[in-house]
C-alpha cells in the first residue's frame, strides 16, 4: 500500500494558505449534525475539542484522569516557541521552520513543519486573549528567552509552569463549551478499542474506570490526542497514566505507526536514586540558559563540587560546541552526558550524573534574578534531592522524556485509516528524529487550535458516509474483544506484579534501545521481549475484579500493550541503520562521535503496519523530500 502524504503543491510559504482555500467546507448549519470524538484532553485534545465545538460540531471529549485539566501537558515547564520576533533578533517564520527541520535532524516532513512555524504566532495571540499569564517586561509586553537548538530568543513562558498555564487556557475554553452544550466530557474513561466500519474510524470503546463498564461511542470521525509512549521505558518523565494503549489499539486496527524508535532522552533530569523509583523528574531545559554543565577533570575526584577549583572542572559542552555551548539540542547534550559518565567522570552516588552549576550566573546576575527565573525549579530540586542548588550545583542525568514517533498522519493529520485523525505527541510528523525544546507545546496547540478545525471539515464534507450507531456489529465485536482481554488478565492469577514486569521491560529497552543502540543489542531485545510477554500472560497477578474501580487492572492492560508495542519499536530501531537525532546507532557515527545520517538510504519515515502479535510488522516508507532546507550534517559547533 502506498502512503500518500497529501502535501499541497506550490511554494512552501503558500501551501497552507492555498490548501485552506482548496479544502471543502461544512456549512455552519450542517456542523451540528456531526459528532466528533476527541480522546485526550492535553494541549492538542482540549484545544481541538474546544475549537471544533465553537464551530458547531458536537464533541464528545474523553480523558483518563478525573478532570480534563490533569493531562500531562500540564507538566511542561520551559516554554512555547513562536516566530514573533519581538526581540528584534532576526527571527522569522522561515527561521523557526529551518531550526525545527535541522533540530529534527532532517527526518520530519517539511510542509508540516512550515505550517507549524506559520501558525505559531497565532497561538500566542490566542493564549494571551484567554488570560494566560505569560511572563512580561516592565513595559507590559511579553518576555522571551532562548532555548536549546536556537540562536534567537523566541520562547514565551509562564515562570517554570508554561505547560500548566497553556493547558489551563485550553481547559478553560473546553469548560466554556461544556457550559454552552457543545462538548460533553467523559472523564475517567480509558479507550480500549477503535471501532472501524467499512474501513473508516467510526467510534471507540472505553472502559469507565469507576464502574468497569465498557461503553461504546459512535461518531463521524475520531480524533486521538493521547500523547506519547515514553512510559514503555517504565522510568520516564511522563506521568504515570501516560500509555500507548489508545494509539496501539488503533495500530492493531490498521493505523500505521511511524518512527517508533525516535524517542527523546532529555538531558536535564534528576538522577535515579533507588529501585523503588516510580518516575523521573525533569528540570526544565531553560536551566541551561544560565547553568553551566561540567564534570571533574579527574575521574577519581572525591571533593564536594564547591571545593573543586575552576581549572579542575571540565565544561565539556562549552569546549566541544563553542557556538551553542550549553544550549546544544537535547540529543547532543544527552549523549555527551552519557559519554562523560561512561568514561568514569560521572558524579553522585551512582556515578550516573553530571553537574549543572549556577555559581557563575548567581555571581553575574544576583541570587534574586536567578530565583525569579528558576525559583520553582530550584525548590522542586531541593525537595527531591535534599540539596540547595543556590549553594551546590545540581546533579542531572538524561531521562526518557518525549516520543517523536507516533501514528502516521498525512498533511491533514489523518491517519491511513480514513476518519482517524491524530494530533500532538500522538502523531509523528513535525519533530523528525529529535524535538527542540519549547516545540511540543507549540505543536499540540497548532494541531488543535489551527489545523484540525480546517482539515476535519474536508473529511466530513467529502466522505458523506452513512450514519452509524453503536448497534452496529462492529461495536459489539470491539466490546467483546476488550472484555475478553480484561477477563484473560484477571484469570492469570500469577506471582509477579504488573509493575515488576513493566520495570523489566523498561530496563531492557533503556539498555538496548535507549541513548545508544546497536545491532547486537537490538536483536537481543527482540529475543527477550517475547519471553517477557509470554511470562506476563502466565504469571502476572491482577487483584480485584472487572466491575469495580481497579487501578491494578488499568495498569495491567497498559503494560500488556507496551509489551506488544515495544517489539515494533525495536524492529524500527534495527532497520534504521543510520544515526539521526535521538536515534543513535553506534555503528553509524562520525570520527568525533556525532550522529551520522545516511540520507541516501534512510531519508524516509518508517510507517509500520501491525501484522499480528509476535510477528514482524510490515514496513511502509514515506520518502521525505527536502525542497527548501539543504540536507547537511548537523553542526552546533
Amino acid at each position: 500500500m502506498s502512503l500518500h502524504a497529501k502535501v499541497p503543491h506550490g511554494p512552501i510559504s503558500e501551501k497552507w494558505t492555498r490548501h485552506k482555500f482548496d479544502m471543502k467546507l461544512v456549512n455552519p448549519a450542517n456542523r451540528r449534525k456531526h459528532t466528533l470524538i476527541v480522546v485526550g484532553t492535553g494541549l492538542a485534545g482540549a484545544s481541538a475539542a474546544a475549537s471544533l465545538a465553537e464551530m458547531g460540531y458536537n464533541i464528545k471529549s474523553f480523558c483518563i484522569q478525573d478532570s480534563p485539566r490533569r493531562a500531562h501537558s500540564i507538566a511542561a515547564q520551559g516554554g512555547i516557541n513562536a516566530a514573533k520576533n519581538y526581540q528584534n533578533d532576526g527571527d522569522s517564520v522561515y527561521r523557526l521552520f529551518y531550526d525545527t527541520v535541522k533540530g529534527g535532524d532532517y527526518r520530519s516532513r517539511e510542509a508540516n513543519v512550515y505550517r507549524l512555524a506559520e501558525v505559531s504566532v497565532n497561538i500566542i495571540d490566542q493564549c494571551v486573549a484567554q488570560g494566560v499569564p505569560f511572563a512580561r517586561e516592565y513595559g507590559g509586553l511579553l518576555d522571551n528567552r532562548s532555548f536549546g537548538g536556537a540562536q534567537v530568543s523566541r520562547t514565551f513562558y509562564a515562570r517554570g509552569q508554561t505547560g500548566q498555564q497553556l493547558l489551563l487556557g485550553a481547559y478553560s475554553a473546553l469548560m466554556k463549551e461544556v457550559k454552552r452544550g457543545g462538548v460533553e466530557i467523559f472523564p475517567r474513561r480509558e479507550m480500549l478499542e477503535l471501532v472501524v466500519v467499512d474501513g473508516h474510524a467510526r467510534g471507540i470503546v472505553v472502559r469507565n474506570l469507576l464502574t468497569g463498564k465498557l461503553e461504546s461511542h459512535a461518531a463521524d470521525a475520531v480524533i486521538l490526542a493521547t500523547g506519547g509512549y515514553g512510559n514503555v521505558f517504565y522510568l520516564s518523565t511522563n506521568a504515570k497514566a501516560c500509555n500507548v494503549t489508545a494509539a496501539w489499539r488503533a495500530a492493531r486496527r490498521g493505523a500505521f505507526f511511524a518512527n517508533p524508535c525516535y524517542t527523546q532522552i532529555h538531558p536535564t533530569c534528576i538522577p535515579v536514586s533507588g529501585d523503588y523509583q516510580s518516575k523521573l523528574t525533569l528540570m526544565s531545559e531553560s536551566l541551561r540558559n544560565d547553568g553551566r554543565i561540567w564534570v571533574p577533570k579527574d575521574p577519581n575526584e572525591k571533593r564536594p563540587p564547591s571545593q573543586i577549583p575552576e581549572e579542575e572542572r571540565h565544561y565539556y559542552l562549552e569546549e566541544k560546541y563553542p557556538a551553542f555551548g550549553n544550549l546544544v539540542p537535547r540529543d547532543v547534550a544527552s549523549r555527551n552526558a552519557k559519554e562523560q559518565c561512561d568514561n568514569g567522570k560521572g558524579v553522585g552516588g551512582t556515578g550516573m550524573a553530571v553537574y549543572l552549576d549556577f555559581r557563575e550566573a548567581i555571581g553575574r546576575l544576583g541570587k534574586d534574578a536567578i530565583a525569579a527565573r528558576y525559583g520553582n525549579l530550584f525548590q522542586m530540586y531541593e525537595k527531591i534531592v535534599d540539596s540547595d542548588p543556590y549553594k551546590d550545583p545540581m546533579m542531572i542525568f538524561p531521562a526518557v522524556h518525549y516520543t517523536m514517533g507516533g501514528l502516521w498522519v498525512d498533511y491533514n493529520l489523518m491517519s491511513n485509516l480514513p476518519g482517524l485523525h491524530v494530533l500532538g505527541e500522538a502523531n509523528f510528523s513535525d519533530h523528525g528524529a529529535n524535538r527542540l525544546g519549547a516545540s511540543a507545546l507549540m505543536q499540540g496547540l497548532a494541531d488543535g487550535y489551527f489545523v484540525i478545525p480546517y482539515t476535519i471539515g474536508n473529511y466530513i464534507a467529502t466522505e458523506k458516509s452513512a450514519h452509524v450507531d453503536t448497534d452496529h456489529p462492529a461495536f459489539k465485536e470491539a466490546e467483546t474483544a476488550a472484555g475478553e482481554r480484561i477477563e484473560k488478565l484477571l484469570a492469570v492469577r500469577g506471582k509477579r506484579t504488573v509493575d515488576d514486569f513493566h520495570r523489566e521491560l523498561g530496563l531492557l529497552l533503556w539498555d538496548k534501545c535507549g541513548m545508544g543502540r546497536n545491532q547486537g543489542g537490538l536483536e537481543e531485545a527482540l529475543r527477550k521481549i517475547p519471553e517477557i510477554r509470554e511470562e506476563y500472560w502466565q504469571n502476572v497477578t491482577v487483584s480485584g475484579s472487572q466491575g469495580t474501580f481497579n487501578q491494578t487492572l488499568e495498569r495491567a492492560g497498559r503494560v500488556a500493550d507496551f509489551l506488544e508495542f515495544a517489539e515494533m519499536m525495536v524492529f524500527d530501531a534495527l532497520q534504521r541503520k543510520e544515526s539521526c537525532g535521538g536515534h543513535f546507532r553506534e555503528e553509524s557515527q562520525t570520527g568525533e562521535g556525532e550522529a551520522l545520517r545516511d540520507d541516501e538510504n534512510f531519508c524516509y519515515a518508517a510507517a509500520w503496519e501491525f501484522n499480528g502479535a509476535g510477528k514482524e510488522p510490515i514496513l511502509h516508507k514515506e520518502p521525505l523530500e527536502f525542497e527548501e532546507v539543504h540536507l547537511a550534517q548537523r553542526s552546533y559547533k
Binding site: 519581538y86 495571540d125 488570560g131 511579553l142 515562570r159 506521568a239 504515570k240 516510580s278 504488573v498
Partner: protein, 252 residues
C-alpha cells in the same frame, strides 16, 4: 548510603461511595528515606497485590507536583507536614523512625469518596464551567502585544493562576470551603485586561455554583493557605469578596 525507617500506617479503606469505611493498619518496614510518599504506597500495594489482596486506591499522575491529582490527609494535615508540597513531592526523610501515620482521603460532602483515598472532585470542574474563563473563540484573538499588561499585575495573576485544583484547601478548611480555589481563578482573570468584560458575571456565577455544590463559607481560619501546595495567598479570597460586592454594584 540511604537510610531506612519503619512506620505504622493507619490507612482509610472504603469499598465504595456508600460503603462504611474503616482504618486498616499496615507495618511499613525498611522504607528508604529518599522515597516519595506515593512510592511508599506503591511498596505497600505491591505487597498487597502479591498477597492477593485489594491494594489501596489512591489518585496520582504526574508525581512532580503539578497535575493536582494526588492528595490525602496525613496526621490531620492535607498533603502532609511540609508546606508548599503535594503528596507526591513529600519525601519519607520527613518522618521519624517508628512513627505512626494516619492517612485519610479529603473529607467534604462536595468531594464524595469513590474508594479508599480517591474522591470525586468534579464539583471543581463545574465551578470553572460556571465562568472560570474568557469567552474568546479560537481565531478571534487580536495581536498579543495590542494590550500591554503591567508586569506587577501579570505577576499577581500568575501567582493566583498557579492553582492546581487539588482540593487541599477544601480538605484543610473546617467549613470545607472552596473560597481559595474560586478566589484564585476570579483573581487571576480580574487582574488581567482580557478578563474585564466578564469580570462581574464571572465572580457571581462561580460563587453561586460553589454554594450549590455544597462547599462551606470562609470564616478566616487561613488553613487553606497553609495547606495549599502552591502557597496561594488568602488575599485572593479578600479579592473574591471585593469582586462579588463590586459585581452587585456594577451589575453584569
Amino acid at each position: 548510603m540511604a537510610e531506612t525507617i519503619n512506620l505504622t500506617l493507619k490507612v482509610w479503606r472504603q469499598e465504595g461511595p456508600s460503603s462504611k469505611g474503616d482504618f486498616e493498619v499496615h507495618e511499613a518496614t525498611d522504607i528508604d528515606t529518599d522515597m516519595s510518599f506515593l512510592e511508599l504506597l506503591d511498596v505497600i500495594n505491591a505487597g498487597l497485590e502479591l498477597a492477593g489482596k485489594d491494594p489501596i486506591a489512591f489518585d496520582h499522575d504526574c508525581r512532580e507536583g503539578i497535575c493536582g491529582m494526588c492528595g490525602a490527609v496525613i496526621n490531620g494535615q492535607a498533603h502532609g507536614p511540609d508546606t508548599g508540597t503535594t503528596l507526591c513531592q513529600l519525601h519519607m526523610r520527613r518522618f521519624k523512625d517508628g512513627s505512626t501515620l494516619v492517612i485519610e482521603p479529603w473529607r467534604s460532602s462536595a468531594f464524595p469518596i469513590i474508594k479508599d483515598l480517591v474522591v470525586d472532585r468534579s464539583s471543581f470542574d463545574r465551578i470553572i464551567q460556571a465562568g472560570g474563563y474568557v469567552s474568546v473563540r479560537t481565531g478571534a484573538a487580536p495581536e498579543a502585544h495590542s494590550v500591554p499588561v503591567p508586569k506587577v499585575n501579570a505577576d499577581k495573576a500568575m501567582d493566583a493562576a498557579q492553582c492546581i485544583g487539588c482540593g487541599a484547601c477544601v480538605a484543610a478548611c473546617p467549613n470545607a470551603s472552596a473560597m481559595l480555589f474560586v478566589g484564585a481563578k476570579v483573581s487571576h482573570l480580574a487582574l488581567l485586561p482580557h478578563g474585564q468584560p466578564e469580570r462581574a458575571r464571572r465572580a457571581k456565577a462561580m460563587v453561586q455554583e460553589m454554594d450549590e455544590e455544597g462547599f462551606g463559607n470562609c470564616s478566616n481560619y487561613y488553613e487553606c493557605e497553609a495547606a495549599c501546595p502552591k502557597e496561594i495567598s488568602v488575599s485572593n479570597i479578600a479579592r473574591l469578596n471585593r469582586e462579588v460586592v463590586r459585581a452587585r454594584l456594577v451589575g453584569g
